[in-house]
Point group: C2
Chain length 723, copies 2
Amino acid sequence: MSDIGALVSKLSTMGFSDPPVEHAAVDSVDQWAEALSTVSGLPSKYTLTKTLIFKPKQPKSEAIAPVVVIAKDVSATNSKTIGTELKLKDLRFASDDVLSGIFQTAKGSVSPFALAQVPKENIGNVRVVIDKALLNDTTGKIAFHPLDSSRTVFISSETLKSFIKSVEGLTHVTEMDFAAAAAAPAAAPAAAKSSRPAAAAAPAPKAEEVSGTKLGLDVTKEGDFSTWYRQMLMKAEMYDNYPISGCFILRPLAYFIWQEIQKFLDAGIMSMGVKNSYFPMFIPGDVLEREKDHIEGFAPEVAWVTRAGSTELAEPIAIRPTSETVMYPYFAKWIRSHRDLPLKLNQWCSVVRWEFKNPTPFLRTREFLWQEGHCAHLTKDGAMTEVREILTLYRRVYEELLAVPVIEGVKSENEKFAGGDATTTVEGFIPATGRGIQGGTSHYLGQNFSTMFKISVEDPESTGADRPKLFVHQTSWGLSTRTIGVMAMIHGDNKGMVMPPRVAETQVVIVPCGLSSKQTDEERREIESACLNVEARLKMVGVRAEADLRENYTPGFKFSHWEMRGVPIRLEIGPKDLVNQSVTFVRRDTSAKGQMAFEGMESAIQLLLIKIHDEMLARARKEMEDHTKIVLKWADFVPALNNKCMVLIPWCERSECEDQIKARSTRDELQDQLEDEKEPSMGAKSLCLPYKQPENPPLVHGQTKCVQCGEDAKRYALFGRSY
Amino acid sequence: MSDIGALVSKLSTMGFSDPPVEHAAVDSVDQWAEALSTVSGLPSKYTLTKTLIFKPKQPKSEAIAPVVVIAKDVSATNSKTIGTELKLKDLRFASDDVLSGIFQTAKGSVSPFALAQVPKENIGNVRVVIDKALLNDTTGKIAFHPLDSSRTVFISSETLKSFIKSVEGLTHVTEMDFAAAAAAPAAAPAAAKSSRPAAAAAPAPKAEEVSGTKLGLDVTKEGDFSTWYRQMLMKAEMYDNYPISGCFILRPLAYFIWQEIQKFLDAGIMSMGVKNSYFPMFIPGDVLEREKDHIEGFAPEVAWVTRAGSTELAEPIAIRPTSETVMYPYFAKWIRSHRDLPLKLNQWCSVVRWEFKNPTPFLRTREFLWQEGHCAHLTKDGAMTEVREILTLYRRVYEELLAVPVIEGVKSENEKFAGGDATTTVEGFIPATGRGIQGGTSHYLGQNFSTMFKISVEDPESTGADRPKLFVHQTSWGLSTRTIGVMAMIHGDNKGMVMPPRVAETQVVIVPCGLSSKQTDEERREIESACLNVEARLKMVGVRAEADLRENYTPGFKFSHWEMRGVPIRLEIGPKDLVNQSVTFVRRDTSAKGQMAFEGMESAIQLLLIKIHDEMLARARKEMEDHTKIVLKWADFVPALNNKCMVLIPWCERSECEDQIKARSTRDELQDQLEDEKEPSMGAKSLCLPYKQPENPPLVHGQTKCVQCGEDAKRYALFGRSY
């Protein structure tokens, strides 16, 4: 039941037939209500709900006995009260690995339907608590997220009961009156609120929810990373949600970064002789399917156009998830002899991959912007050289524009691009979660596609009449708006975005300060004109400066406003500064303050911007290096991951071994987790085989063994939890 | 039966059920065969056909009696032979207006099914001649374009017979043995070829077809403009066809132009305070439909996504045809007070309009690239100022980058953007066809969308507690890759593309010349190094120069190669030039030749590039002005159109009058056409009400009358045939 089709069909056996409605993925009940308000055709009366999974403190020897609480969103589901009712000790929210390991679900996507996914050996230990207020509500519908937070189904309380009954092996089901429990003064601190007729009334505010109104952030990067990420980017005006799940709006601050990346990268690839072009976004179905391995990777995520106006199309048309199969028939047409090689094309476009996993702005979106380069070479050498040159450019985008350190390497057999021979990659690291993240990939496709699409030339080395055909060696490579998400995760802080200077739309903001009722209008005008003068001087030398002379806003408000948007340098100019002919500067990244003379300020600011960039990069690099551990025995593997580290291990490079590492690190984690439930958890996968191999201890071929399986190790590999 | 649904349903009553297959639009039988080779699931054996419409010489008083010939594509359908058989004099191909006026079809889209579209009053005069070879072929299928050249149906000869019989009122049907007729030496010069089993065999070459193999062009701009346009752009490597009808590939030469336009326009709008952003390409169906007038204009052309992977979507999702309804809900969210105004956003993206009319590269494509700007202002004045500033930028793109003169004006009520208050436009002119073409539009939307989407602020002028709401005044404006097509139609010639210097990817090509077997290797190297030296010197000053040192190609081949691609200046360097320390230059636009000293060549080339631009613009402007006639009485209207002119008329600006002008100019044309069949024909529509009004004769309000209806004229209006 991990797909929506199976769920709908199961529900339909209970007399339920409405399909789930789709909407923007939501993080909170507030967002849920808002998302539903954009959808038409909903039941006239419905109640929002929450499904919570708890776990009591248990001896290590016992099987895990989770508690699933299904309640109205406004009911006071106090864990102590529930624990008392069930006679269980120290109920705590279950960790991510209980959710994924037992319920095959994740935070934000939990619903009663997860019960149908519990393995037989576990279901006997699961306890279910249902809010009586839900069961007694027979006039309206009850809203749940069926599988993830971007869908909602509306069912009756009868259907809910039938569903619970239908879960085989589930024996512990309790109904509970949360309102009554909350009313008992000893048991619950929060008063239960009466249920409301529909989502129109505002839901009860919760501290941990994303709020759209406050100026600052409600959560910390350390405390709730994923909420922090969305809320910070939303409040920095980097993106906005959209009524179609998985689609987001790139607002000007984010698009500016993308344009800077475009300028840098476009100049780089042009100097390599690549030319830009534009191929249609539509792909005929049969063309898409021409390369088998390739299409297997993309087929489940392809969006299909089947209708135009009111005309059904004879053949459905795919929207490109990537353009190999779009372009390569034309490579075959345009390449007639070796003199047409190399053929180097690139396009800047959007692609669509209709993923059903939980969407995340910039990182996992159904439509995203990228460039895709596609080149054909006469020789493998020519292709491989290009693959590495592009990878270097990608590293430079991260390091020189975004102040993000990355590790260059090659992907394992399991992780490479389907249909190609080898994938090279730049891998980043998110210190807050200790996870690796793929930053961009450059593929050597070998002759796989050229054989399939018949892209060949006559061997120019051969002189006979019947010269042999050579299939060209191809490359493809892409960098996407994901870059922006990686940068934000690394540099953002609890005051908002921290922009690396080179991609900051505003690099310096100038705020008039120290003005009170004491000053005359003349003095006020003097200060404002000093601000404008500084703005003009900085613009003259190419610094993106802006004087914020808005009335009706305090300096403090302006400070927070620009800090949220990550402006690298703030200049404050007040009456004293005018006297001293200097300004106060404040760095966004370190909050460091200082004075700077008006005279020569242009150079001083330019130098400071470079210094900020260099220091941001150096700090991020140190964090990454401090969290990259060489591990020489398996026992140290999972503990290192739990310490938010990536690990470098001597590795055999076998596909089965990688599968085993993933399974074993997940399992070990589940056992450890009973001791300490606070750690995040999930299996590790290989991130890359770094080009820069550790030298201490050296890897001795035929002697050093794989950390996991004990076979001969070939290279050090970088493993980690990842996005 | 002007839509495909009706046709299929009609055919199905004859026992025919396969839907038409879609493919790239084709210009020739060669292209047709090639296009079909990319489609799967075709009949194993089929014959390509041609349907030709002739007209005999007739007295003016007689009703037109067209002859429809349905034959195998390889049959020799000699008009003299057919005339002899039918006892009709001087059969000639029917003109476009016979095709459109009587058969409701157009060149390239003619098929037997057009017979079903002939009005009752005409059908009695139509004669049909069917190739016996077609009727006798009972083993395979017969391929026709049902309505346009991007679709093919396969029917049996039985179905063809049934169809012909089903056309009511059609009495003259003749079967003819073209093979036998051709064999008779007196009657036909060309020998008929035996029919071939399927499209795999090459069809008989025809002079007027687009050929993909020859270096030069097969047709002239004057002789067959629409074939010339496609063939010239194809051979210049500006675009390529694509298996999905209406979609084309923008090759590097064309995309380079687009990037130059982007740079120029992006800098222009940024300096106006506009910011770039990116909104999703997908629109929820209900959001799309929120503005009624607006959606009415786009609904028939919207492409719908209904499936992702193997999952049917609960609600179909539209692909944006334009983004008003995508963006404006967010304008409502982001604009909270007058301090948030003006809000000025732009995006560079592709949009999709699934038109069913005959597609044309750059001019009418189902997906195209553009920018769309969307702004909100507090006042109408603010909005109108911006609308005009943008229009000026659009004019400058045409004139300063593309050397294309345009006329600025405002659209009539009939022609304006649906849902807006006023549309301003830049209109171009294609001398070769005498038609106007819309170049780009900038709309004042008024408060229509803001009322619909509730985009309002409190009146900042009012101070009371209960301040009135003001709905914002909006603009939207777009410029697309159509710019490139307009430029190519105007400047291209019979040697290929002629690139305006500022958008030419290669501005100067340097070709070594005068080398023969007489020269030593040393002399050859000297010349080549002189070429490279000139290339380097020009690149240093920012001129896009390229030395063409390819071996195995003659200078003549290289000349043609670069002429086809439109490179503005060719430099030739031979032994004599080295002696004289000078180069020979040849202008692409005028073929003018001259000598230029090595010394100071950088400035000389820069000046020449500017001069070429200025002269290209001046020539095009003179052509346009010479073909823009002030017309003061109706009798001169259609003759002026027939002289390939646009006309300026004193006009009442009434919508009904515009409809009458269109109808009347079409009808007059059909009558005139009996006298002279060579003129193109179609009704005229208003292109714009030019901001720059003619002064001689002056338009006197209350006195000057509308040329068509005699009511009071308000302004001079520009009318013309158009794209």
